[in-house]
């Protein structure tokens, strides 16, 4: 393994981790503003550790939905990590307790970093380096955001109730580089808003999830 390339990987991993750490500050803030405790907020970042799902859960709760509707949305958003796991299994070949440990790092960023390498050793290195760095910065950021927000009497004064849609948009944008995903996104937003007055909070997400699954399944 060349030292030069591991150094480059490490630099990229740290860059990703710092950016995510800043993003985690907004997660901590949104979560506490939604009414979750600091402990609950930190547990999400330690155990759930997959940004989109975490934002979905606290977003649904903050909007007045039940925590279970939020939980289902979080799990649905996390389903893509299972596909990443399949792609990574042959590269990582984790055994025994190592698999339990490696599994926690199977997310967007680590997958992208790992599969970009031709040399499998560098791929594994990239996976673990990105995973470790991200885990540390993600949880530190969460803690900072959560404590800072608890110190504020009314999070609405800082516009924190307007932050979740922007966070979801920032997560969504990189996935919209073709016409089909853009059309799906617009249709999903319209359907969710249309059914919202008629079903309990959080349920519009499940309606949309079912519709897109049916579409994906039967599309040519």
């Amino acid at each position: 393994m060349q030292t030069e390339s591991t150094r480059g990987i490490l630099r990229d991993a740290l860059g990703i981790a710092v950016a995510s750490g800043a993003y985690a500050i907004s997660f901590g803030a949104i979560s506490v503003a939604a009414g979750l405790s600091i402990t609950q907020t930190c547990l999400l970042s330690v155990v759930m550790f997959t940004g989109g799902s975490q934002f979905a859960l606290v977003g649904v709760v903050g909007a007045g939905g039940s925590v279970w509707a939020g939980a289902v949305a979080a799990a649905l958003l996390g389903s893509r990590n299972a596909l990443y796991g399949i792609r990574l299994a042959s590269l990582l070949k984790p055994r025994g307790w190592r698999r339990l440990f490696a599994a926690q790092f199977v997310i967007d960023e680590t997958t992208a970093m790992a599969i970009a390498r031709d040399d499998p050793r560098l791929g594994r290195y990239a996976f673990y380096a990105t995973g470790f760095a991200l885990f540390v910065f993600w949880n530190a950021g969460t803690l900072i955001g959560a404590f800072a927000t608890q110190a504020i009497s009314d999070p609405k004064v800082l516009g924190l109730d307007a932050a979740p849609p922007a966070a979801f948009l920032a997560l969504l944008a990189p996935r919209l580089r073709a016409r089909e995903p853009l059309a799906i996104a617009i249709a999903a937003a319209v359907v969710a808003i249309a059914v919202l007055p008629f079903v309990p909070a959080g349920v519009p997400l499940l309606v949309v999830a079912v519709l897109v699954a049916v579409y994906g399944w039967f599309r040519r």
């Binding site: 999400l44 007045g64 893509r80 990443y84 966070a167 948009l169 996104a185 919202l196």
Partner: protein, 100 residues
């Protein structure tokens, strides 16, 4: 109640990651599964953007959050980093509430 939801959802998300690493490849290698799963985050995130901007609970409501969304879209189009997108949206809502 919140605790139970937080714990169950966290374990479910971890379980999905572990399942990907552990299950026999062919189980999830199905072409339809491969095509469908990546669409779910797109639809869900878009639905979250829509509902969290234009509703409070079960009621549709147009307020400063819509302006915040426009600012966030502009920030995303300008390729601003995550935190800038979120902070710009929050600041927009905060400032508009001060002025209006």
């Amino acid at each position: 109640m919140t605790w139970a939801g937080v714990v169950v959802a966290s374990l479910a998300c971890y379980g999905l990651k572990l399942a990907g690493l552990s299950l026999p490849e062919r189980w999830l290698q199905n072409q339809r599964v491969q095509r469908t799963v990546p669409l779910i985050p797109i639809a869900l995130l878009a639905a979250l953007v829509g509902t969290q901007t234009f509703a409070i609970g079960q009621h549709l409501q147009l307020d400063v959050r819509a302006v915040s969304l426009v600012v966030a879209i502009a920030a995303v189009l300008l390729r601003a980093p995550f935190l800038v997108v979120v902070a710009a949206a929050a600041a927009t809502a905060a400032l508009l509430r001060l002025w209006l």
